[in-house]
Amino acid sequence: MNKPLRRIAIFCGLLVLALLIRDNWLQYAQADKLQSDKQNPRVAIERYAQPRGDIIVDGKSITGSVATDGTDLKYKRTWKDGPMWSPVTGYASQLVGATQIESLEDGILTGNDDRLFFRRTMDMITGKKKEGGNVVTTLNAAAQKAAYDGLKSRGKGAAVAIDPRTGAILAMASTPSYDPSSFAGILQKDGDTFTKLDKNKDKPLTNRALRETYPPGSTFKIVTAAAALEHNLYTDPDAKTDTPLPWTMPGTTTPLKNEGNIPCEDATLRVALRYSCNTVFGKIGADLGNDKMLETAEKFGFNKQQFTPVRSNASVFSDNMNKSQTALSSIGQYNTAATPLQMAMVASAVANDGKLMEPYMVNELQAPSLDTIEQHTPKEMSRPLSEKNAQILQSMMETVVSDGTGTNAQIPGYTVGGKTGTAQHGLNNSEKPYAWFLSYAKAKDGSSPVAVAVVVEDGSANRDDISGGGLAAPIAKSVMEAVLGKK
């Protein structure tokens, strides 16, 4: 009986060997795949096992974390003044994931970033729990509040404020907004809230400041004026331009209309900007031609996505347009469309003497110990216009605020330059126009610490009342005042 017994012994050994091989396959060969499998609940459990790092504004955190009750995912995100800050932070929901800064800097906030590897390893050895790092933003809480409160009182809209000297984003508001805390968890009610927000036709989840492109209307005349100066079409802002009135667009029989009875015939650039003459800037566009206009627009950042690091949609200035289309595009109509961020960049480039700085809103990434992991250094993006031309354009924009359509943005004791815009849209301009305002303010030393772009999609206002100066300029003014420390 011993021969079969020995064989049975080998057989039992083989059974155990098969289990050992299978176990090596599972726990060695397949371990990484199983561990990081998105369906593996451990991935989410691990991710939410510790409080998330914070997003910092003006040295104070605008986010927090709170322990959940009765779910596997221990901590969920909270926001202070969620609706005000959500265009900056985005959301970080256990159920629907994260967006914007919450998503882009997720590694730092959760503590999983490779740059934290050494610390994590040390913590593991010393038995400390893993912690998330912080994201320090460039934002200015007072400016953000001014922008958000102003927009909220006007309904739908967006505003962006930039420090022209560095490109640092000071305010980024969008209304209607949402409170990301309301769906930060993983429960049924979080899902319901999100679905409701997602289906809302006012699109509260859309960050209008970055992701919505509007026809910029007359505010685009800043770009057109810059193009005229840069391409030497006109060099003196106070010399008469060659503009008949009425002016018929080349290749058509349609005259380009001005808003109301304003002195636009052969108007100087300064006067044309002050009264917002469509004929003068339309003709500049037609005279320069598509290529030259496009060149200047692209120097300002058109036709390119911006990464702040949150991505913005690309603003549009078309190519392959004929003269009349170029003329319409040059007054911010036709295909021209811009994000509020783009128009703030236009204002900031002019205010910074022609130097366009790369816009950014994350200044610093901090380890859990508050050590700096990464620090942003301001970078020049392009030079849309020369210092001399920029100063000419500044003086023109300052005239708009002191004597023109933008008087609502005046701040006593400070020099302010700006441009209004009332952009028509919809089939046959049937829908309510967008009210725009671009501006910058100069500090006492002559440098410019803030440039703002505000757009109000005011569906409730009487059509005649909509004008950039009336609706958007007061918001821009209060944002500038907040930055200047007037409030």
């Binding site: 011993n2 012994a9 039992c12 155990v16 176990d23 397949q30 199983l34 561990q35 369906q39 459990i45």
Partner: protein, 479 residues
């Protein structure tokens, strides 16, 4: 008759050392390791040593000590490895069951399912004590394993009754699709665990008598010795019984276990490879046949082939699907080579049966590949020490019984661990000693007791010149 019996005398060397001190030293490790593991879990979960540490250590030490003294007194020449390995596995099982008792997830689950949560570890400690009591009882009362030979046919009846009990209305329970439980006075018992031992006694007794007929009376066909038609009777009876268990109790594991055990013992008894071929053919036919019309088996196979799909179906709330298999695979994978450390894994996500059928997944996640390999090797050692006992045994009944029990033990480990690790379809059996469950622990301690008894008899210095029981048996040759 068979020349092989003459070899046995060389294995059971005369004057062999008793090895009791080796056993004692190993037992010290078998007690200390789980105590450290217990402390480890407490420190990981609460940051402090568990309150029951001293009691647990003393309890496990006491049980091991009693078992050792009884072995020393009643089976002094027994194999020195079986008791320490069983103690270590039992101790580690207790630690993991206690660890899963601490899981909030499982506590909440129990509260939502049954209205209250009660920890399993104290029960398991009680079952372990009963198991060791039975172990002690086996060694004290069963002075010689050959006594069991007298009860061959009573064992058969007993085994059949045990196997049929879960089908008795009012007594049997259907737990998650498997009808292998009975409920008596609030206790649920898995009769199949006990039937495993009883039926091994029957097979051993029966085959000892019939083996010559089965081995010698055969025709040669295509290089194989084919048994005569009438000798096929017993194997067909066992085969039908396995199929019936599979169909009526929907228990793939037990079915496989009995049939496998029978084939192993038949092969050992007759030394005919043809029986293995027959056994494999019949189990293949049975498995395919049953799978083709039994939806329960089909769904098990589906879940095995695509555990992710099964998981998604379960998540979507489709009835009759379970996420356990995929959760177990994730637990193993997440453990990696070294594991997360005791108390730091998430194997409680398996939820149902996390501490019984799926207990190995918790070991896998928290002790890693290293821990599982150690555990599998320990199981392998138990089986191999049992088979060595069979080799050393001087009587055919002892050989067959030891081979049957060890073979069954190995097959059970393979079926359960293979199922949990996704090597074969999942079945409803428990890891011996590790898993929560009174029947399993008690029956396996009895199994170890019987193996120790046989090994004591086998290794005991022969009172020279003893008449070999084999020699007597050879006179009972039947046509």
């Amino acid at each position: 008759m068979s020349s092989s019996t003459t070899h046995t005398s060389t294995i059971g060397a005369i004057g062999a050392p008793s090895r009791r001190n080796t056993e004692l030293a190993l037992l010290a490790f078998a007690v200390v390791i789980p105590v450290f593991a217990y402390a480890n879990v407490g420190l990981a979960i609460d940051g402090s040593l568990p309150a029951g540490l001293l009691g647990y250590g003393l309890g496990l030490g006491l049980l091991a000590g009693v078992a050792h003294i009884v072995v020393r007194r009643f089976a002094p020449y027994a194999d020195p490895l079986l008791l320490p390995i069983a103690t270590l596995l039992n101790g580690m099982g207790l630690v993991i069951i206690w660890r899963l008792d601490q899981s909030e997830r499982l506590q909440q689950l129990a509260k939502s399912q049954y209205g209250s949560f009660s920890p399993d570890a104290p029960n398991q400690l009680m079952y372990s004590a009963i198991g060791i009591a039975l172990f002690v009882g086996v060694l004290m009362l069963l002075k010689d394993h050959r006594i069991l030979q007298r009860y061959t046919y009573i064992s058969m009846v007993g085994a059949l009754i045990l196997l049929l009990l879960p089908l008795v209305p009012g007594l049997g329970m259907n737990v998650f699709g498997a009808k292998i439980w009975i409920s008596i006075g609030g206790f649920s018992i898995q009769p199949g665990e006990f039937a495993k031992i009883v039926i091994a006694v029957f097979f051993a007794g029966y085959l000892m008598v019939k083996r010559d007929a089965l081995a010698l009376a055969s025709r040669r066909f295509m290089g194989l010795y084919l048994p005569r038609g009438r000798d096929l009777g017993p194997i067909i009876v066992v085969w039908v019984m396995s199929i019936l268990i599979l169909v009526f109790e929907t228990d793939l594991g037990t079915s496989l276990l009995f049939f496998g055990m029978f084939v192993v013992m038949l092969y050992v008894a007759t030394e005919r490879t043809s029986w293995i071929v027959f056994g494999l053919l019949m189990s293949a036919v049975g498995a395919v046949g049953v799978a083709s019309f039994e939806p329960h088996v089909q769904s098990r196979v589906q879940a095995w082939l695509d555990p992710m799909h099964e998981y998604m179906l379960s998540r979507q709330g489709v009835a009759g699907h379970s996420e356990q298999a995929m959760q177990a695979l994730w637990a193993f994978g997440s453990g990696g080579v070294l594991g997360t450390g005791l108390g730091q894994g998430h194997s409680d996500l398996i939820k149902f049966a996390a501490n019984s059928d799926f207990v190995l997944a918790t070991f896998g996640e928290e002790l890693g590949l290293a821990g599982i390999m150690a555990i599998l090797l320990m199981y392998g050692l138990i089986a191999e020490r049992g088979l060595r006992t069979a080799l050393a045994a001087r009587d055919p009944f002892g050989k067959l019984l030891a081979a049957g029990l060890s073979g069954a033990f190995a097959i059970q480990v393979f079926v359960v661990a293979g199922g949990v690790m996704g090597l074969i379809p999942l079945t409803g059996m428990t890891m011996p000693f590790l898993a929560y469950g009174g029947s399993s622990v008690i029956a396996n301690w009895a199994l170890i007791g019987i193996l120790i008894r046989i090994s004591d008899t086998a290794r005991r210095p022969a009172p020279a010149p003893a008449p070999s029981p084999d020699a007597e048996m050879t006179q009972v040759v039947r046509p």
